[in-house]
Symmetry: C2
């Protein structure tokens, strides 16, 4: 692991690192924010998964999460959204290939050798974080758009690995959307039965979630038709799944929307992660 | 005035506009944040002047000022740092020409026709803001690095136009620094007597300031030698000028530093701008 930069930020430290990833077969970059409380002992972790075209950097610089993480004593992790580089497959479209990994394990050429973002985030990067930073084994996950899809699918499939989940304007039903069908058929092939484990509306219907779920969605989001929050809302209500979907009037799909509600999401995760930690005598 | 974008943000609206500037002779871009309180009546204004290489966008997306401005009901204005475009003079160096206007009125070729940032911000843009947005005539000014220099010099020379002033890691003594001597000689010529009206340490010594001043400076700032906060600190103490200069341990020159203390500066200006407004029965 190589440290690329370190900056003091809200009393803690914002670090950017790179490492040679076995899972993705290339060097990967990620960012970690450690709050001031980490000096006194290990802290819970909130993962933030970014959307299409983003790197580790967008939410790190524009999301405004650090201020709230410092208030609560949470670490933040910002992974990249795909493998990158000259030897890595790509596509001219903004929504396929580099910058658009969709948090899946690709099974088809040319994507398969590098596009293993599901395993990368869930196993390899998680191991690097827990092995190199002072964190306790309490993890929340959130994300925006494609990253909201990643957050929901990873949590719903791995309730043993995550203690809290939320999302900002997630791609909520990719098997039925142009933000999903194109990518899932490219990365996984045309057999749609292989897609459902990456669709949070289907996963929630099948498995539910052990806790409650927070979704924020801008009511003026220019991509609402592609996100399909109505599918997730339908399942949540039908299944009597605890949680809330907040339609926020006037907000669009931008980081102005994400940063506005960043504090609410950090508060939400902190309450759940620290309650659990406290029950275990860790805080 | 042309509206380029509008985004809902912390209950208010972040707008980016452009307009044909008489003062600079080209189209100029600026950003304005109007807090939710502006729906109910006019609000005071906090100006934020950016540093070298920046546009209107850096602090707007990375500074985290909107959250605090929304708490207090302050408008924010983010001007560009220079005129720009093909017909505008420039230099290959990052610290001269486009992106480096230094908030002066250039008197020398080739800069004179466009590089009139002092008058542009103080008169033309101020007129556009007060004429087109619901604001009261209460203005605070802050800025970062070159923008901190701009904030201090504009306020110190125009106590009738500004009611509060602060700065983040300002270029505090440009007549004695390589961040200053090069630019002042290019824009104003070699007669150094013309430079002193753009040096906040000299201005403070000559005129003082009617209120108190807040300066935040990272103690690990990689550009400390160029900023020369010691000159301003010397004058502040010698003149018994009310205010505080905070040396913040561990912080560098980046927006991680600016965003960390953005809330403190907005609080500071709000207390002073609203106290004055309240004395006049405006709030």
């Amino acid at each position: 692991m190589k440290v690329i930069s370190e900056n003091r930020c809200f009393g803690g430290v914002q670090t950017v690192c790179s490492h040679d990833s076995d899972t993705c077969g290339v060097e990967m970059t990620f960012a970690v924010y450690m709050p001031p409380q980490a000096k006194d002992g290990p802290v819970p972790v909130l993962w933030y998964l970014s959307g299409l075209t983003c790197t580790h950097e967008n939410a790190m610089t524009k999301g405004g999460f650090q201020e709230h993480a410092a208030d609560h004593g949470l670490a933040l992790v910002f992974p990249d959204t795909s493998p990158r580089g000259n030897g890595v497959a790509d596509d001219q479209a903004y929504d396929l290939g580099q910058g658009a990994g969709f948090y899946v394990n690709a099974t088809r050429a040319p994507w398969r050798p590098n596009f293993q973002m599901y395993d990368y985030v869930l196993s390899e990067l998680r191991g690097i974080i827990t092995g190199n930073f002072p964190v306790v084994d309490r993890h929340g996950v959130t994300g925006h758009s494609m990253g909201g899809h990643g957050a929901l699918t990873m949590a719903l499939r791995n309730p043993d690995l995550f203690d809290s989940v939320s999302a900002f304007a997630p791609i909520a039903n990719p098997t039925q959307s142009d933000w999903g069908r194109k990518q899932l058929s490219e990365y996984l092939g045309d057999d749609e039965s292989a897609w459902s484990c990456y669709d949070s509306s289907i996963l929630l219907e099948e498995h539910g979630w052990k806790g409650d779920i927070l979704i924020d969605q801008g009511a003026s989001d220019q991509f609402l038709d592609l996100l399909r929050p109505e599918a997730l809302a339908h399942v949540m209500t039908k299944r009597r799944q605890p949680g809330l979907i907040r339609m926020q009037p006037g907000y669009d799909h931008s980081y102005y929307f994400v940063s506005t509600f960043a504090g609410d999401h950090v508060d939400w995760h902190a309450a759940r992660l620290k309650r659990m930690a406290s029950g275990l005598g860790l805080n």
